[in-house]
Point group: C2
């Protein structure tokens, strides 16, 4: 054990975090966790929370490793659970029974049924425990679960696709296409990582057929569709077009949805409603290198009376080129109101 | 000579190009040229076109080098001139007389009085001549001069300072501040590198006192101010406020101005008028990580009826962080109409 450096711990935890991404947006209300089991610098088991929330990552990795788990180190992105449920045993107990020698955890589990008792059970069994490896990355990885725990609502991402001058369409509403195929494919990948897509009623009535994941092999990942409409919604007609559709009348109602990750796709009024309600945690800004001039603005009225209040709320987290377009990912700053 | 590699040539030419930046925007109608004289891997003379266009870069560098120029290599960003003028001798003759052994040139001079005859005169004197080192950078460096030669008009840069959603002000016109002090200082530095700043009448009437260079030591670089107004302009009142101000009634009229670099600063209608006239060569986009929502758009109507026509006209050339803001520099693509 003494030969394992902090850099190696981070490297293996990064592998566990990568596994956790496989089911982001498909495990609610459970967190999407990743786990690798490592013995003598080799991976002997890998696991990630399965769609629907079970089996847990540790159970999957231990099943894959079999007897090779004995003496191994488990890298887990979240503290192993300490509670037995009808759907499965406690992961802390499974790790003890498998005889792992060390458990490295990115983040403690805020679930009151675990919240430190998973770590305690491991330590009581003589297992070496390290906590806090890649913690910030784990917070990002499990943003949906953690936001639900902390604020009682899903983690909300707002997607905008604009010209350099912030337009999302021509004056007549034409928006095909502002961004190119690479950016649009990336936006579909983002859809597959959310339990729900939300649009306003106007966008729904215009784009209804398009609100799914159109990527080869990922068609079955198409999320629940949520429509925001302040007017009473029509009674759902019997027909395939309305399956998996939920109407809500206020941004705050997202708290009631069976989703921990929501992608708000527009239009401008809906985006503004979420921003006014201070319900946007992350901004995906796809920008094409074009100028449109007169056209539809990305955002409706935010009610801003003083430019000073707009500063300091967003921080660039990531950026990448997508063909000739560019994606910028902004995150809410810690100091901005939550 | 044989020991000088192509990489070394590029390195010295980069130094000459850096010198040429010192007077960008202050040499019209002459090009801003840079020159370094190198002997035994040491710089023995440096020069750049002086404000107003004379002395030329080569004359300045040769004067600095004195007898050390004999046997040296001259790196010049533009072909040395072959014509004697009342304001000075031909640089090609000066280089021959100084006994330089080699001349490396980035770009041939399109001026019909030179256009190859400067190089011929050097070669006839037994000087080794290399042409085309860092040519693309030289084209950028002398964009004003070259655009005037090629298109009979100045090189036009459009500056926009926007929020992430493309707004330049609140609905009431408040725009102080969208970008932070670093971005604003950079914008003032850009002003100092243009012979003229151009704004629309509305911006002029609002921001008149501000259209200068407010950077320590560069106050005297404040460019000529050009006002675009389709209405008849008021007779200039006698007063300091109107010194160095020219009124024009159409974007095309910039061709008549004594300026090879023009910075268009707004407002939205003026920016759109230049874009509609296809007179923008470069776009400086300063972006603050804020969202404004309802407010003033960066650009007025561009008359675009089909999104397809907007694509492929702009290419990202450079980007940098300025505090928490970001500057993106876009250039007109070669394939877009000129």
């Amino acid at each position: 054990m003494g030969a394992v450096t902090a850099a190696e711990d981070r490297r293996w935890m990064a592998a566990a975090l990568a596994l956790a991404e496989r089911t982001r947006g498909r495990t609610a209300p459970n967190p999407n966790v990743g786990c690798v089991l490592v013995a003598k610098d080799r991976v002997v088991g890998r696991g990630w929370t399965q769609p629907g929330g079970r089996p847990h990552a540790e159970a999957m990795a231990l099943a894959a490793a079999g007897s090779a788990a004995r003496g191994a180190t488990a890298y887990v992105t979240l503290e192993p659970c300490a509670h037995v449920s009808p759907r499965g045993p406690a992961c802390a107990d499974l790790l003890v029974a498998a005889g792992v020698a060390r458990v490295v955890v990115a983040l403690g589990d805020p679930d009151p049924r675990t919240n430190g008792s998973g770590l305690a059970r491991l330590r009581d069994a003589g297992i070496l425990v390290s906590v806090g490896v890649c913690e910030a990355d784990a917070v990002r990885s499990m943003a949906g679960f953690l936001t639900r725990r902390r604020l009682g609502r899903p983690f909300v991402t707002l997607k905008l696709a604009t010209s350099l001058d912030g337009r999302i369409a021509l004056p007549d509403g034409s928006s095909r296409w502002i961004t190119g195929p690479e950016a649009r494919a990336h936006a579909h990948l983002e859809r597959s990582r959310h339990e729900a897509i939300l649009v306003g009623r106007g966008t729904w009535e215009t784009d209804k057929p398009g609100l799914d994941v159109r990527l080869p092999g990922l068609e079955d990942r198409s999320p629940l569709r949520i429509i925001l409409s302040s007017r009473p919604h029509p009674s759902a007609p019997a027909g395939e077009g309305e399956r998996g559709v939920v109407w809500i009348d206020s941004p705050d109602a997202v708290a009631t949805l069976p989703a921990d990750h929501i992608l708000v796709e527009g239009g401008a009024g809906t985006a503004a409603a979420f921003l006014r309600a201070d319900l946007v945690d992350r901004l995906l800004l796809y920008r094409a290198p074009i100028l449109i001039g007169a056209g539809k603005a990305a955002l409706g009225d935010l009610g801003i009376a003083d430019l000073g209040t707009t500063h300091g709320r967003w921080r660039l987290h990531d950026a990448r080129d997508l063909g000739t377009d560019r994606l910028e990912v902004y995150e809410r700053t810690p100091c901005s109101p939550a």
